[in-house]
Structures are given as C-alpha cells and as structure tokens.
C-alpha cells in the first residue's frame, strides 16, 4: 500500500535523468541505421543506400576472420579476468596496511598510470623491451637469449595483457577500496576478537563484503568479451604480430582508413553491443534464478 504513494516520488527522481538519456542516447540511436547501409558521408544517414546485413557478414567472410576473432576473444578474456582479480588482490593487500600515510601514498601512485595515454605508454614499453633494454638485460642475466618481444607472436599477447593491467589496476582497485571502506569495522573487530588470522579475516570478512561489487563488475566486464583494447593494440602492434595481435577493432580501423567504412564500424559496434547485452542479461537472469540475487 504505502509503496504506491512512494512510487510517484521515485518517478520524479528518475525523470531528469531519463529525459537526458532520451535526448542524448535514445534519439541518436537512429544512427545504428548506418550499420545496415553502405554509408557515404556525402549522402548522409537519410540517403545512403541500404545493404541489409552485408556489413555484418563482412567480418565473417574475411579470409582470416577466424584468426581475428580468436585474437580478440583471447585478449579480451585474459584482460577481463586479470583486470578483475589483480585489482581485487591489490585492494585487499592495501587494506591490510596500517600505516595510513604509506597506504595513501601507494594508492595515489598506482592510480596515476591510468592518466597516461597509450601513445606515451607504448613508447615507454617499447624502450623497456628493446634488445639492449632492461628486460632483455634481465633475461640475459638468467641465461636466456634476448628476445624482440614486440615482434614475437608468442610474447605479444602477454605483453598486451600485462601492460594493460599495469596501467589500470590502481584505478580499478578504487571501486573495491570504496566497497571495503563501507564495511562495518565492527565485523573486523569481531573477527579479531575471535582470534582469526589475517587470512581467515580476509576469507570470512573482507571477501564476502566485497561480493556484490565483484559480481557487479564481473557481470559488466563480461560484456567486453569483444573489446580487446583498441587504443593499446593500435599503438603497440606492427604487421609482424598481426597473427597474434590483430583484433576486430584494429582491423575495422584499417578498413576505415581507406574508405570511411562507417557502415562496417557501426555494424561491428552494434554487433558488440548486442553480444554484450545478451551476455549481461543472461548472467543477470542466472544470478536471479539460481542465487536469487539481483546484480543491479
């Protein structure tokens, strides 16, 4: 009963946001029509010829579309897993620090690389990985042959994933830290009183209190299964590592250099959105049905 009287207020609270979404997100969605067009910039959205699903089939008909999709999914999945777990571990470790100044300093420093663009970071990385660079010196110290990492199809994917984690883990950890900060300290107190070891505390108190955050982030991250990180790869790859590093976005980008290819780019974007939407909706439903848990 009383909920009904509240509902009016809820609608009012949502109203401004919904209006803005309508104007700046929903209305522009007429742009997805481009995905079904042979879009020509001179003709615009209203006059470009329709081509049905041709833009969608394009990616699948390429001679090496299999390789491109495998690369994309491999890199994206590795990044999703690494970018969920490593910031989590880091946040838990940081949470164990008691010296507040040290803790704050570390936390501030690790979030800084987020602000460096891949243009800059990629040149730092390529310097580090040169034949006479520090990484190869380390390799030689352990008796290995020096490696041209960025020209090696064996190494390239790992470098991509590792450097992405390096850049983003500090920033990604912030959400976990915020969630930890909201945990009722009396829970830790109680665990401490019971004589729980540190690891036990982490296992029984810290992790469960992070569970909603982890589930939310994981669900949303699943939607990225076709996003391997365009900016990063574009700045780090070369034709020598197309075999392991060419992904959907970089391919579409190169296709676009020649002739705009807005249709292809929009189609690929739409395809990625649909897949993300389906995956997210599925995990939402599964969580709801089997764990009776709503992610958002």
């Amino acid at each position: 009963m009383r909920y009904r009287s509240l509902q009016k207020h809820y609608h009012i609270m949502l109203f401004p946001g919904i209006i803005l979404l309508f104007i700046f997100s929903i209305v522009p969605m007429f742009g997805t029509l481009i995905a079904f067009q042979d879009f020509k910039i001179g003709l615009g959205i209203w006059r470009s010829p329709w081509v049905g699903l041709e833009n969608f089939s394009y990616m699948f008909e390429l001679p090496d579309s299999r390789r491109i999709f495998t690369n994309t999914i491999f890199l994206a999945t590795a990044k999703i897993v690494a970018n969920l777990t490593i910031p989590l571990i880091f946040a838990i470790m940081l949470n164990e620090l008691r010296k507040q100044k040290f803790k704050r300093a570390v936390q501030t420093i690790v979030y800084l690389p987020h602000f460096l663009s891949w243009v800059i970071l990629s040149s730092v990385i390529s310097d580090l990985l040169l034949l006479n660079g520090p990484v190869n010196h380390l390799f030689e110290a352990f008796g290995f042959e020096p490696v041209m990492f960025l020209a090696s199809n064996k190494w390239f994917p790992y470098i991509v994933v590792f450097s992405d984690v390096w850049k983003e883990f500090g920033f990604n950890a912030i959400i976990y830290l915020a969630a930890l900060a909201g945990v009722n300290p009396s829970l830790f107190e109680a665990a401490g009183m019971d004589g729980a070891t540190r690891l036990q505390q982490i296992w029984h108190v810290t992790l469960p209190s992070l569970r909603p955050t982890i589930v939310l982030l994981a669900t949303l991250a699943i939607g990225n299964v076709l996003n391997a990180g365009f900016d990063q790869i574009l700045n780090m790859y070369s034709p020598l590592v197309y075999e392991s590093g060419d992904v959907i976005d970089t391919y579409v980008y190169r296709a676009g250099i020649l002739d705009g290819q807005y249709g292809l780019a929009t189609a690929v974007g739409l395809l990625k959105s649909v897949i993300a939407f389906v995956l997210i909706m599925t995990s939402y439903q599964l969580a709801n049905r089997f764990a009776n848990y709503r992610i958002f």
Binding site: Y3, Y10, H11, M13, L14, G17, I18, L20, L21, I23, F24, S25, P28, M29, F30, G31, T32, I34, I45, F90, M93, E96, L97, K99, Q100, Q107, T108, I109, V110, L112, P113, H114, F115, L116, S117, I120, V124, W166, G170, I174, L177, A178, A179, A181, G182, V183, P185, S186, G192, M193, G195, T197, P212, A265, T266, G269, S273, F277, I280, F296
Partner: protein, 298 residues
Amino acid sequence: MKLVRSRTIGSSVSTAALYAAMACIALLSLAPIWYTTAISFSDKAAAAAGSVTFWPQDFNLVSYATILGDPTFLGAFWISVKRVLLGGAINFVITVLMAYPLSKENREFRFRSAYMWLLVFTMLFSGGTIPLYIVVKELGLFNSIWSLVLPSAVPVFNIMLLLNFFRSIPKELNEAAEIDGAGPWYMLLKVYLPLSLPALATVTLFSVVNHWNAFFDGMIYMRSVDNYPLQTYIQQLVVQVNMQDISGDPNKLDLIAKMSNKTLNAAKIVISMLPILAIYPFLQKYFIHGIMLGSVKE
C-alpha cells in the same frame, strides 16, 4: 578508532613482506610517470635523441613556458574547471537521484526493472558520433559548455555502483525512519547519502576524471579554439602530420619541425595530471579510511 589485532612474529614478518611488495608495486607504477616528468624538463634535442632516462637532460622549462605562456591555455583551463564543476555536479545529482529509486526492491517500485534495463541498454548501445553531433547541433549547443556536460549527464555505471552500495544499507534503517514519518527525499538526503560517503567519493572521482580527461567532444562541438577545454586544447598542441601529404605546403613543413616535440608532449601530460592529483586527497580520504557507520553499529 583502533582495531584490535593479534600480533605475532609470523605476522610481523608477513607485514614486512607486504610493505615491501606494495613499495615495489608502487615503484613499478611510478616509473612511467617519472620518466614522462623527466622528459618534460629536458631539452628538446636530448629528448628527440631518446637519451633521457632517469633524470632530465639539460634541464629547462621551455615546454612549460610554451604551454603556460599561451593566453589560450588559461582560458582552456578555466573552461575545464567550469566543465568539471558543472558536469560533476550534474552527474552527482543525477546519479544520486537515479540510484536511490533503482536500489529499491521490485515490490517497492514496480517499474524499477523497466527503468534499469533502459539504463543498461543506453550504456551498451550507442548511435555513434554522427547522430549525436546532429542532435547537439539541432539543440543549438555548439560552442556552449552544455554540449560538454549534457550528453554525458547520466553516468550509468556510476548509478549502478551507487545503487549497489545503497542496497547494502540495512533495511532496518529504512523502516525505522519510515515509522518516524520520513519521506523518500528525506530518506535519501539525510539517511542514505551520509552513509554512502565512500561510494559517493568514488563516483564523484570517476565523473571528475571523465570530464577532466575528455577531449573529443570539445573538439567536435566547439567551433573555435578559444572555447576548447584544456584536454582538447592540449591535444591539438601535439602535432601530427601525414608524411605523405606535405606537398611543399609551408604550413605543413612548419609543422614537421614541431612534430617530434617529445618534451612538449610530456609537459602537457604532467600539466594535465596535476589538478587531478591536487584534488585527489580530498576524495581519497573517503574511500581509503572508510567511515564509521555510527547508526548501524547499534
């Protein structure tokens, strides 16, 4: 409030190891920033030769003078500040207003799921640059700061974070307050918000960072460089020339001389990072110290 902890020899060894590990991780993260800063204070020719490593070479401030000495810089800085304040405020209000009703159970708010999926939908699907450009143009927002803050006014990801946080606030509070006759607005402003400072600090940080870093919208919606926000302004200082398209054009030839200016690029990164660093501690304290959930403790 001090936490009670059992301290044994084993734990102090592991504590030392923990501190050492964290210090190493921090150094690893600091390295690229340090390197960039060193380049920004170096001589252009030394940087172009790639000979800068740990310390600046031929220390000088030319790059900073170039950026800071341009009157457009101050204007762009001010536009960015306005953008962050206005955009951040709008994001904040919208986030709070939307997260609260959406944090309710379906039985409490019947249309919750419909709204929620609409939000998820808009987060995942986008019409692309061209239609948004047309919309902004038709609304007459070109050259206006509103073109920078309104299209990104609804940060769906932030809303999801906050609504999840709201959900973790005990239901008993709700009921207690409602018995006292508190309406939803009172609940939101006086009960939920004060309890959610870590999450609020996080979403605020995210929207501030987003607004501060954004450059593409400024570039396409602003018709004069005088209206560029800082990142857009700085972005266009980094000269890119298509080497196949020089054509003896004196302008383009002039650009080549400026193209490989690594110190300028580095300085622009340092300069654009500083304001974020400056405000960071004020937000950081909320999500790193945590808060005492006084009312929950009882």
